[in-house]
């Protein structure tokens, strides 16, 4: 199930622009790793290289290696589609499929990959919605449109959709930035539970959130606008927030930065 991610010498480009430069890090299985850093420092870009979503962007290109339990995601014979089945993703803005019901949204990943047995789908939908703490709220209206839920519910629906395909790793790109504090709390609780089954990487602008949910924290920074983003340091979350080894990290965390 949950797998280790081992990144070495990874750079990502938008056309000719180098967005992130030479990043290496290790993410342990069944942990939550938070990425923090100022806007434009490449956190989201780096996250998207971990399931080969970066290359979906026109002009997107990646150099370097990402090992998922010793298998290079960027190997020449690796199909990006199967990478994305293994490494799931939750986006910043909730994006349920507007033409589908709640049930169909959760079942989408399975159905579109050819698994259609009704009984099997029923089980997985219930399990995924329960896993996303949404089952009790929607079990009586599974046939209703997914877009009719509140923002927080929609985001949990998207999490349920992502975990329904049983990925090994779950990437979350600022999953709470469009949500109110109560929905945020619901999702943070959920992350705590999900890490027993998945390796989780979360990008966040909210440092309290990073401190609350993550085991390890990575701080990204960029020298100036137009320069590539770099990984400054990655360490146990407690250490990062109490006694970071790099001055820039301390400046950023204490709000003295910029």
């Amino acid at each position: 199930m949950a797998k280790r991610i081992d990144v070495s010498g990874l750079s990502a480009f938008y056309g000719g622009f180098r967005a992130i430069d030479d990043i290496s890090m290790t993410v342990e299985p069944r942990t939550v790793t938070a990425f923090i850093g100022p806007s434009g420092c490449g956190k989201s870009t780096f996250l998207r290289t971990l399931n080969r979503m970066h290359e979906v962007t026109p002009g997107g290109r990646v150099e370097g290696k990402v090992l998922l339990d010793d298998e290079n995601l960027y190997g020449s014979d690796v199909d990006p589609v199967s990478v994305r089945r293994t490494v799931g993703m939750v986006f910043q803005r909730p994006n349920p499929f507007p033409t589908m019901s709640i049930y169909d949204n959760v079942a989408a990943g399975l159905r579109l990959n050819g698994r259609r047995r009704k009984q099997e789908l029923d089980e997985i939908v219930e399990k995924s919605l329960t896993g996303a703490n949404l089952w009790n709220e929607v079990k009586d209206r599974l046939g209703k449109p997914g877009a009719g839920l509140s923002g927080g519910q929609q985001q949990r629906l998207c999490i349920a959709r992502a975990i329904a395909v049983e990925p090994d790793v779950l990437l979350m790109d600022e999953p709470c930035s469009a949500l109110d504090p109560i929905s945020t709390l619901a999702i943070e609780d959920l992350i705590g539970g999900l890490k027993e089954r998945f390796t989780i990487v979360i990008v966040t602008h909210n440092m309290q959130q990073a401190a609350r949910v993550s085991d390890r924290t990575a701080f990204f920074n960029l020298a100036a606008v137009g320069q590539p983003g770099k990984l400054i340091e990655i360490d146990e979350t407690e250490r990062i927030f109490s006694n970071p080894s790099v001055q820039a990290t301390e400046d950023y965390i204490s709000g003295r930065f910029g």
Binding site: N51, M53, V56, P58, V81, S82, V83, R84, R85, T86, G88, M89, F91, R93, N95, F97, P98, T99, A108, G109, L112, N113, R141, K144, P145, A147, G148, L149, S150, C158, R161, A162, V165
Partner: protein, 358 residues
């Protein structure tokens, strides 16, 4: 700038404090409109102007002017400008509606006389052009078959082209296709007809047939379908595509199961508008289908008729009975297109992304 005491005591404009103002009653524009219409009619009749269009224009000018003057006097300059803009918008709306209404009214009034079961179920076989009687059954069959075949050919090609342009196309090929689609949009129907005539009938040696007409209609329909479908596909948010990719869904499945269903309402609307456009084409039918007085159910062999062609033909005969038949056929054509439109709207509404139901 703060409001001083002198602002508050300033004359008439601000009777009750800073925010409230003197307002005209809400029925004022309506009253002015009625007054302007009456005045316009009065002036027009008084001056002996024959055309009702002139009466209407006078009323229109009076309406805008009176609206401005009155609002200016009571409410102030900014509100007066607002009223003028509003009344101009309403006036333009009326101007746009008048020809449409008058067209429908004329067609219904003249067409409904001949519209009955016989008219719909008989051809012109054995009916002299100068006599009343006969019908449009052969023309309805022709229109339905020719437009149907054109749709069956043009819609898949058009939709696939649009999918290619939006989802896959980049570089020189996509630019070339976009360019040629733009050029094709501007092709006059008679040119499309001539092209098929020289290629299909003169070079390849096939005879006149409904299918030859369909080919020309296809040429006319394809670019419209490509354009409208392209617009609709571009409206699908990229986040939905990414959400699907992130689930490990291949690109083609994402297009089939997410992108197209999300925009299907708009695509269907575009297709129906394209059908409505080609259903009224006369020139290709004239050149390629040849026209016929009798029922021919086979679109692949022999001449057929079609509704626009029938209207043209009957109008050319130039007698009362044939004029009536032409109007009757026009009414039927409008009704057919209207029905198509309603069906499309129904489908579009049913398929539209669902947001309610919380």
């Amino acid at each position: 700038m703060s409001h001083t005491a002198s602002d508050l005591t300033a004359p008439q404009a601000r009777p009750q404090g800073r925010l409230a103002q003197r307002r005209l009653p809400r029925w004022t524009p309506l009253a002015i409109a009625v007054g302007a219409v009456l005045a316009g009619a009065g002036i027009g009749a008084g001056a002996g102007l024959g055309s009702h269009v002139q009466w209407g224009l006078i009323a229109l000018i009076l309406f805008v002017a009176a609206n401005y003057t009155l609002t200016r006097a009571v409410e102030g300059r900014r509100q007066a400008k607002d009223r003028v803009a509003t009344s101009l918008v309403y006036a333009c709306f009326v101007l746009a509606i008048v020809p449409l209404y008058s067209l429908i009214e004329t067609t219904v009034a003249k067409g409904v006389k001949v519209l009955n079961g016989t008219f719909l179920s008989h051809s012109m076989s054995g009916v002299l052009g100068t006599q009343p009687g006969g019908g449009i059954y052969h023309a309805i069959i022709g229109t339905l078959e020719q437009v149907g075949i054109a749709t069956v050919i043009a819609v898949p090609i058009g939709v696939f082209t649009a999918v290619y342009l939006v989802e896959y196309g980049k570089g020189a090929l996509a630019k070339a296709i976009t360019f040629f689609v733009d050029v094709m949009t501007g092709i006059p129907s008679i040119v499309a007809g001539l092209f098929v005539l020289s290629f299909w009938i003169l070079i390849l040696g096939f005879g006149f047939s409904g299918f030859a007409g369909s080919l020309a209609l296809t040429i006319l329909m394809m670019p419209i379908v490509v354009r409208s479908t392209e617009e609709m596909l571009r409206l699908v948010p990229n986040e939905l595509r990414e959400a699907s990719y992130a689930l490990g869904v291949p690109k083609w499945r994402t297009i089939v199961s997410i992108v197209v269903p999300t925009s299907i309402g708009g695509i269907i609307t575009g297709v129906v508008l394209a059908i409505a456009r080609i259903a009224g084409e006369t020139a290709p039918v004239l050149l390629l289908v040849f026209g016929s007085q009798v029922i021919n159910n086979d679109p692949f062999n022999g001449p057929q008729s079609s509704l626009p062609f029938y209207i043209y033909e009957q109008y050319n005969l130039g007698n009362t009975a044939s004029y009536d038949r032409a109007w009757g056929a026009a009414l039927v054509l409008i009704i057919l297109v209207m029905i198509l439109n309603l069906i499309a709207r129904g489908i579009a509404r049913r398929q539209a992304p669902k947001t309610s139901g919380r």
